[in-house]
Symmetry: C2
Subunit: 239 residues, 2 copies
């Protein structure tokens, strides 16, 4: 009951998914993680599934020398931890003060053996969407320039936030940079370019993390390089 209500309140676009997952497991309840704290670490046994009630989470990997790659951002209503196997392959950290619903989980897909078609479909959809997102991210990291990356990021977040008038980013430039495979300076410069081109507004009496998209069609064009034959930078090579 408690779960039923809260999940439906929070995640209108993924109604009841955690319910399905939780039905045959045990909901452990709500947990709060302060800004910057670790929810689980890479290599730890994966015992739970999480849904964000309030806040935002980043999942990341690190190299030994500190270089970091963020694989995904999870926002309000999003579920994470499902796609892992026996152990977590990512580290998950709260970007801001975050409240999550936690459900005990069996091993991946275990609930599918229990004839629960609905839960099976939900898990399948989650894994499918995860794969699709990650694979598109490969293309972004491997073949797109900095402005395209930032535009793609803004486009994605804007969509996931429901295209609000003012987009409030929970994460800082450092996180954006590590998500896009860039540096903070390059992210900042790309945002300035988009601002100067009239695509968005930033600052203007707002926080630096509040962005107003002024020209979404133009942003959409920026996402993928529209091979401008004049500027032969990194993109055009058509061969």
């Amino acid at each position: 009951m408690f779960i039923q209500v809260s999940v439906n309140e929070i995640a209108k676009h993924v109604p009841g998914q955690l319910n399905e997952l939780a039905r045959q497991n045990a909901i452990w309840g709500e947990f709060k993680y302060p800004r910057g704290s670790e929810i689980f670490g890479e290599g730890e046994p994966a015992k739970y599934v999480y849904q964000i009630r309030e806040g935002a989470v980043r999942t990341s990997k690190r190299l030994s020398d500190g270089r970091r790659q963020i694989g995904a951002f999870s926002l309000r209503g999003d579920i994470f931890g499902v796609e892992d196997g026996e152990v977590h392959r990512f580290t998950a950290e709260a970007i801001v003060n975050t409240t999550v619903l936690v459900a005990k989980r069996r091993s991946l897909f275990a609930e599918l053996a229990n004839d629960d078609i609905s839960a099976a479909n939900n898990v399948r959809d989650l894994v499918t969407r995860t794969l699709e997102r990650v694979e598109n991210h490969l293309l972004l990291l491997g073949r797109q320039n900095s402005v395209e990356r930032v535009a793609a990021f803004l486009f994605e977040i804007d969509r996931r936030l429901g295209q609000p008038k003012v987009m409030v980013l929970p994460m800082g430039r450092r996180d954006i940079a590590d998500y896009l495979g860039l540096t903070v300076e390059t992210v900042s410069r790309a945002l300035s370019i988009l601002r100067d081109e009239g695509v968005l507004s930033v600052g203007r009496g707002l926080t630096q993390r509040e962005i107003v998209l002024r020209d979404r069609p133009k942003l959409g064009e920026k996402r993928v390089c529209q091979s401008d034959p004049e500027r032969r930078s990194r993109c055009p090579r058509l061969s």
Copy 2:
């Protein structure tokens, strides 16, 4: 029977996986694809699962202007097409003349609803491994330099080929470049650097696609940038 034998012959390290997958589906048999031909295209309905009997396959995505990102290479014995949903999210092409076993497939995870625990585990393992590989690839594309990328590529292929004396690459430099998010020239230069450092030999009476790894430990060190943690965050110099 025919399938049983051939699968076990070919894929010792993934014994019988396609058998499991095929048991409740229908094996359609063997198909041959000439070098460079398309096995399936991005966006096409996903009707079959494939296992490579002989040859090699690349799966890739393209941007509208022709930029390409290869997501994975499939070698002899490998299964591909399982991780897709209703439609293929990648294009699959034969790198060389390739023979594949083809099995009709149901929708993703459908076989799990049929109480086939063994098949369920196989699908789960395939999806888990796919996710792990792709996520590591994110880190490579987002945060590693050219030599690290090429070293990681060689390390992976060497392992998958069973560390032979002479590594015979089925793919050309162009494919390697598009897999690593680089250009052919940069791949070639990185190989030359590794050659000059005594890590490998290439050419020497062999084809350019035949490589001898002379110092696997050193190659392993090249894979990830270790060394001074305090200096720059991106990576130390090459030379």
